[in-house]
């Protein structure tokens, strides 16, 4: 039971990262590699602040702001510097590694006995793992609502149009460069925030904790899409969070099968590859039809 509650809590926090990635990967329609630098950056900033006894709320906010900064750097390199987005992301990600080492002072910093968002007075009385679920739920709900509202504003629509058809967006007077920078800032802000929250949840920040985060975020997005199919944009945001939880449950299952945590990255990659190929399989083998027939048959 405690394994499942811990998984759900983790899934919610990773869902915030997936929501951030959704903005760049699905709405702006490009792969932003900054993620793998932003995530540990948010964690490093948050943990360092907490170690210096900064208020946990403020420390968490700092991880969001830290993420926005890395997003802005990638955005500027991409739009004003005309560097291809993949390379721009990789450059920022590589640079942040050194920044993280500087901020943390060493490769790994623990949070032992320091106040965090998750061990505050209100949450401390809850059973194990529930503080994570409560905090994760609160953040996920607020972020989904804010994003849904934003995407329905004039600015949000211009943002969506930029990812959907840049030529058209420009011809309709939308400054697409600004939209991309804005999108990357919000996206990475959320990813930094996820880094800060997960560091508080895990009790440490590590310079290498970013490796593989892109795959985890994408897996959450794609699983959400595979499970729910065609949805409105708002429902899609919820599906991303649900996808993140499902993905964690799949990992838990795999772990129960006897794999070690060392195999996680490989398993993550395999799961994502399978999910990405699902539409192809469906076409080739009519999986849906087969499933449907199997269910309908008495």
């Amino acid at each position: 039971m405690s394994l499942i509650t811990s998984t759900i809590g983790q899934g919610l926090l990773w869902g915030i990262l997936a929501l951030g990635l959704y903005l760049s990967f699905r709405i702006l329609n490009f792969p932003d590699m900054t993620v793998e630098g932003t995530f540990p950056f948010g964690a490093a900033v948050c943990v360092t602040a907490l170690v210096h006894d900064v208020n946990p709320f403020l420390a968490t906010l700092l991880s969001f702001i830290a993420g926005m900064i890395t997003g802005a750097v990638t955005g500027l390199l991409y739009t004003k510097g005309r560097i291809p987005i993949l390379l721009a992301g990789i450059l920022t990600m590589t640079g942040i590694y050194s920044a993280n080492l500087r901020i943390l002072g060493k490769a790994n910093v623990g949070l032992l006995n320091h106040a965090t968002l998750l061990n505050g007075k209100l949450l401390a009385n809850l059973p194990a793992n529930f503080p994570t679920i409560v905090v994760g739920l609160i953040f996920a709900i607020i972020i989904v609502i804010l994003l849904a509202l934003f995407l329905n504003t004039d600015l949000g629509q211009a943002f969506i149009a930029t990812g959907d058809n840049e030529t058209m967006a420009r011809s309709l007077g939308i400054n697409t460069d600004n939209m991309k920078i804005l999108g990357l800032m919000v996206s990475n802000g959320l990813i930094g925030l996820a880094g800060g929250l997960l560091a508080q949840n895990g009790g440490y920040a590590d310079v290498n904790m970013g490796i593989g985060t892109m795959v985890i975020g994408l897996a959450a997005i794609i699983i959400g899409e595979v499970v729910y199919g065609d949805l409105s944009l708002t429902a899609r945001l919820v599906a991303v969070v649900v996808g993140s939880i499902l993905y964690r449950l799949v990992l838990l299952l795999v772990l129960q099968l006897g794999f070690s945590t060392n195999d996680f990255k490989l398993i993550s990659a395999i799961i994502l590859a399978i999910c990405l190929m699902l539409p192809l399989f469906q076409k080739k083998f009519h999986v849906r039809k087969l499933l449907k027939r199997g269910v309908e048959r008495p």
């Binding site: 934003f150 329905n152 504003t153 004039d154 949000g156 149009a161 959907d164 058809n165 011809s171 007077g173």
Partner: protein, 252 residues
């Protein structure tokens, strides 16, 4: 009043290299209010370059673009969108596939206006959008909530045209906007174009490769050949122009 003036426009590409080429050579042109120009020329004559110079996606090497006494030369394509709208040749280029017809129209309505954190208010515009689309061919008004990616090429192009004209632009640019459509749909959209340009009294430049269309529509015809205007004709003289006459201007 919408008057477009091009003053000494020259466009040189690959300047300073052995590939240096002058695409537009000292173009001087004045479009009067309500002019509907059909622009002809062989491939490589500079028609698209001229259009891109007007819409701002390409900066001229020398010269000025002036609209209603405003110098637009240094304004970006994005800033010019307030005054100038365009329909592209490719139906996919003028619309956003993952947004609905109504959402696309709303984007066009907000063109040139401030886009802030105010809710978009799509419902308030739905009546207007169904009225506007009801006057168009190919049943767009039944599909306001359809994703544009699910429309046919003809429907997408009709939508692009409505988006380009919904705010009554000072200048409308049409870059072979019916070339990718089947003959029937193409004629339908051309008739619609003529009607809207006439009713809204738009100033319009239309690139076409169909000599018949170039003579049938509009009030003025301009032919480009190797970066120069070789014919600029309107009024009575234009009525007597034949397709064979035009072809003479196409050769060097």
């Amino acid at each position: 009043m919408s008057v477009l003036e091009l003053k000494h426009i020259t466009t040189t590409v690959n300047a300073g290299t052995s590939e240096e080429k002058q695409i537009l050579k000292d173009i001087n042109l004045k479009l009067n209010d309500g002019d509907f120009v059909t622009l002809l020329g062989t491939n490589g004559a500079g028609k698209s370059t001229l259009l891109n110079t007007i819409n701002g996606s390409l900066a001229p090497t020398t010269g000025k673009v002036v609209l209603d006494d405003k110098d637009l030369t240094s304004l970006s394509e994005v800033k010019r969108a307030k005054y100038i709208s365009q329909v592209f040749q490719d139906p996919k280029m003028g619309t956003a596939p993952r947004m609905t017809v109504a959402e696309n129209l709303l984007l066009a309505t907000k063109c040139g206006k401030h886009r802030g954190l105010k809710l978009r208010g799509l419902d308030k515009h739905m009546d207007k959008f169904s009225r506007e689309t009801a006057q168009l061919p190919n049943g767009l008004n039944d599909r306001l909530n359809t994703f544009v990616g699910n429309l046919s090429g003809g429907q997408r192009q009709t939508l692009s045209f409505l988006m380009a004209t919904i705010n009554k632009p000072d200048l409308l640019l049409l870059d072979e906007h019916t070339a990718a459509l089947d003959p029937n749909t193409s004629r339908g959209l051309l008739e619609l174009t003529a009607k809207v340009v006439r009713e809204q009294k738009l100033t319009c430049v239309m690139i076409t490769h169909q000599l018949k269309d170039a003579l049938k529509y509009g009030n003025r015809t301009i032919i480009l050949n190797s970066g120069k205007i070789v014919l600029d004709i309107s009024g009575e003289k234009r009525k007597h122009l034949t397709e064979d006459d035009i072809l003479q201007y196409f050769t060097d």
